[in-house]
Amino acid sequence: MSIAEIFDTMDYGPAPESNKEALKWIAAHDGKFDLFIDGKWTAAKSSSRFDTIDPATGKILASISTANNADIDAATKAARKAQKAWEKLGGYGRARHLYALARALQRNARLLAVLESLDNGKPIRETRDIDIPLVARHFYHHAGWAQLQDSEFPNHEPMGVIGQVVPWNFPLLMLAWKIAPAIAAGNTVILKPAEFTSLTALCFAEICKNAGLPNGVVNIVTGDGSTGEHIVNHTDINKIAFTGSTGVGRRIRQATAGSGKHLTLELGGKSPFIVFEDADIDSAVEGVVDAIWFNQGQVCCAGSRLLIQEGIHDKMIAKLRARMEKLRVGNSLDKCIDMGAIVAPVQLSRIEALVKKGCEEGAQMWQPSWAVPKEGCFYPPTLFTNVEPASTIAQEEIFGPVLVAMTFRTPGEAVQIANNSRYGLAASIWSENINLALDVAPKIDCGVAWINTTNQFDAACGFGGNKESGFGREGGHEGMLEVLRPKFEAKLPHYKPAKVKTESGKSATSPLASIDRTHKLYVGGKQVRPDSGHSLPILSAKGDKIAEIGHGNRKDIRNAVEAARKNAGWTKNSAHGRAQVLYFIAENLDARKAEFTTRLVETTGVTTKQANDEVEASVRRLFSYGAWADKYESRVHSPPMRGVTLAMKEAVGTIGIVCPDENPLLSMISLAGPALAMGNRIVLVPSEQHPLSATDFYQILETSDVAAGAFNIVTGIRDELAKTLADHDDVRSVWYFGPEAGSKLVEEASAGNMKRTWTNHGRARNWFDLEQGEGTEYLRHATQIKNIWIPYGE
């Protein structure tokens, strides 16, 4: 077209970013890449290779190695060998290395941006303006955490060797999210990039080498799902960090169950994008573009469910369609496009299949009038209206540029629809009414909420989800705690199951000495009979039968969880209000000290002095959590924007707590206290051997203003009940402190709804020890952090 013709049409022309330097870099490696192990390019043990493809053109970019079990073993050995020295280098030394990496990443920013865009298909605008700057920012930020580690995380140490598996949607950014905190803290890593997108990870390996990072600190192993499995299953890895699909995350949870590996999972989502009638609708429409047409919608936290207040539905949809007409899809290296290519044909097929399903189910599909390029792997922006929460496309994660729109009438209904999902990753809330927006954000069950903005990320602000979107947070203070562990943890002795008492045949109960007591269960604020109608005999330390307790079963757990679900009052109560109740429990326990002491002597066989110490420690512990209730506070982050990000510590929900046999009163209080202080409702299984301290406790709960349903106790066979709790889809976390096999049982079963778990991995704590028995570690498990982004300005 001549200039005069363009002058008339005012079209955009091609605006290609050069791929020359990127192709030159690939050519310098002869288009073939080995594994990066122990600071060296290392040929894979098997000859199995695969090609990585530019999805915008279908052209082969390079040949990549598949690491097998032996390669992972070599990488793990290298990482293990390097770890101690890396840890010993100290925070300042590691900070210098991370700083050097951040600088080197910036010096290679354009090469990385182009490589990423070529390999993944995402627009160069995004890699250049979003991915790569965030990558550098992540290393700067974590250089800072390394520097401050001793002062900010005292009594913590690195976990050791961390295995990391990252997805293809933000290849280098996810690598940065994984590697920066891990190595800042003194861990060494083995990272596997996604099969579709290995190139920037390999380029990063080269940057590490050139930047003088000690050998073995970062190991990059490429491959497919089998490579990932080798990492997950390797016995000398201390932690697995995974970002990817919920399906794979679930398999990893099962595979690592009982292995003692720490785990963080950042999984799928179906995040709501809520527009209230008092929103700046034009800006909200633009927000939708950033929410679902960012990275072709292949974003775990994509705002894929548009919830519009009914009165503005038609207006918003009309504006949205007009906006969609203006979107441009094309080659990822074109600087004049909004959307690039879908990562691979298999993903394209998945999108097509779900869109077809949506149409079949009666939803109305709309796509702009223009067509996407015929060559390459493209899909147009797509909007579904006439969608109901029951529609498949409203529930399933599509992971493509497909938006489903629904309406709501009231803020309450918006929250209800938003939470009507198995996922709970992110939410975007649009309203010019600060009261409304700040009321809704905490009510959405998710890890990140954006007010009048969307898809904002920063190294200082934790990111991660709830429910089937995974657990753990990456970034910021909370993210560092996922790569560190308390120093005492590795030194804990093995858990010794309580000795099974031998029955003496004598019964210590006499109706004449004391009136016969029935030890029932405590559910919904009431003492209730067990569903089974069966009882279990309880023996004294000497083996005399001293009581019969209710044999709780599945249905009792179900009832207890239901009671917890129904009684939201405890969670809504103010922190001060909860503190009052915890102090009141302490007061009432203190008043009955003698009785509880006697019971401990009788059931556990400790001396009166020891029993008295345990009761006193329990009272003191309750005081600690009364104190903590209004002091374990949220943080306010300062990301680079005009605004604040509130890192709100929220209650997890219903927590199942399975108590150990040792110190039955103190261990129960140590676990129940923090959970209650933070506003959780609990279903607690007391010591199987010594449950009477718990059943005696009912009367204290009844006289201490504990909200009905906040504290439920089900006695019975520990692991039977633990399994039911771990299986239950409405239990959000299970804490297990019993024998090693139980940890495995709980972790395996938790995969059902991807609930959080906190297990002792067969180690025993000293409940009297202040570091092991109480404090912020407990409170951290009793809360989940939601980062609420609030940009402001008029």
Partner: protein, 328 residues
């Protein structure tokens, strides 16, 4: 593909805005989120890019939208004549020739002067088809007696101005007296008669985007043919966020009435790179029609010089210098 051998005369391709009766609700319902607007404004430049011939064509188009302006206390007839000569021939003929544009009769969109210079400008532009725009109504503060402001418009129209750039009483917007603002602009529009009314909101002095959005809507309801950011005399003049808000108001007005209103950023647009950002915004938020001079003007004095240098660079491949291009 629409081809035009000559540039169409400006300002007359669309139905004029008849205005709407005053409706307080139309402004009460306006919500603008500053951070979101800034985000869109700051990222749009990264989403769009024109290179090579496309860039040259877009910059030539920008020239056709420039209101070549002189608004100084020391303006004289000689200075205005020189400006008009530049408006007639904004780019060196040999450069236009190389770009294949010499037959197009490229001129700037208008020449913009104070009332006292209107006659001189009209004479100097005779036969060129280039309209003369007069800043009016006590420009730049707009606080002279109301009757005098109306009379100033009438005098400029009588002197041959085809476009009148009025300033609003910013106080009406700052105090939320939308009825008074509406009445004022409506009276100015009536005084314009056939001349087109360009309403300067003084956005730098309205301060908040919410005020800008509301004042934009009132100006259009009162019959403005164009809405314009600023006088060029404020401490903050045209910005992309302000433009986005005004452009979206234009879109909303079109959704309400079907009438197309023009947009004119003024002050602060001095580099070729900047003007492309405004053009992208016009095309993306409103459409290609809004890239033409009947719906888009740029109030600028030094922008043309930068565009000329860019165009010469496009032709020669060498970076240009300002003395190589005839001054205005």
């Amino acid at each position: 593909m629409a081809t035009i051998s000559k540039l169409a005369p400006t300002s007359h391709a669309h139905a004029r805005n008849p205005g709407l009766p005053f409706d307080a609700e139309a402004v009460e319902d306006i919500h603008v989120n500053l951070s979101a607007v800034e985000r869109r404004a700051s990222t749009l430049g990264g989403r769009r890019s024109v290179k090579k011939d496309y860039q040259a064509a877009w910059l030539l188009k920008a020239i056709s939208c420039i209101d070549l302006t002189t608004l100084s206390g020391d303006d004289t007839a000689g200075r205005v004549k020189r400006l008009c000569a530049k408006a007639r021939q904004p780019v060196r003929p040999d450069i236009l020739e190389s770009l294949g544009m010499s037959e197009r009769g490229l001129t700037t969109g208008a020449v913009c002067v104070y009332h006292t210079m209107v006659e001189t400008a009209v004479k100097a532009l005779d036969g060129s088809g280039i309209p003369v725009a007069a800043v009016s109504t006590g420009f730049p503060a707009g606080l002279s007696p109301f009757e005098l402001r109306v009379k100033e418009i009438e005098a400029s129209v009588a002197a041959g101005a085809e476009e009148i750039d009025i300033v609003i009483t910013r106080g009406h917007a700052l105090t939320g007296n939308w009825q008074a603002l509406y009445n004022e602009i409506k009276a100015f529009r009536e005084a314009c008669g056939e001349a087109h009314l360009k309403t300067i909101l003084g956005t730098g002095e309205l301060v908040t985007l919410r005020n800008v959005a509301k004042a934009s809507m009132i100006a259009m309801m009162a019959g403005a043919d164009f809405i314009k950011t600023s006088t060029g005399k404020e401490s903050v003049n045209a910005t992309l966020p302000v433009s986005l808000v005004m452009i979206r108001a234009i879109r909303a007005y079109e959704e309400m009435t079907g009438i197309k209103i023009g947009y004119k950023p003024a002050g602060g647009v001095s580099a070729a790179k900047d003007v492309l950002g405004y053009q992208f915004m016009m095309k993306e938020e409103l459409g290609t029609e809004w890239l033409q001079p009947d719906l888009f003007r740029i109030g600028a004095s030094s922008l043309l010089g930068d565009i000329e240098r860019q165009l010469e660079h496009h032709v020669t491949g060498r970076y240009s210098a300002d003395f190589r291009h005839p001054m205005a």
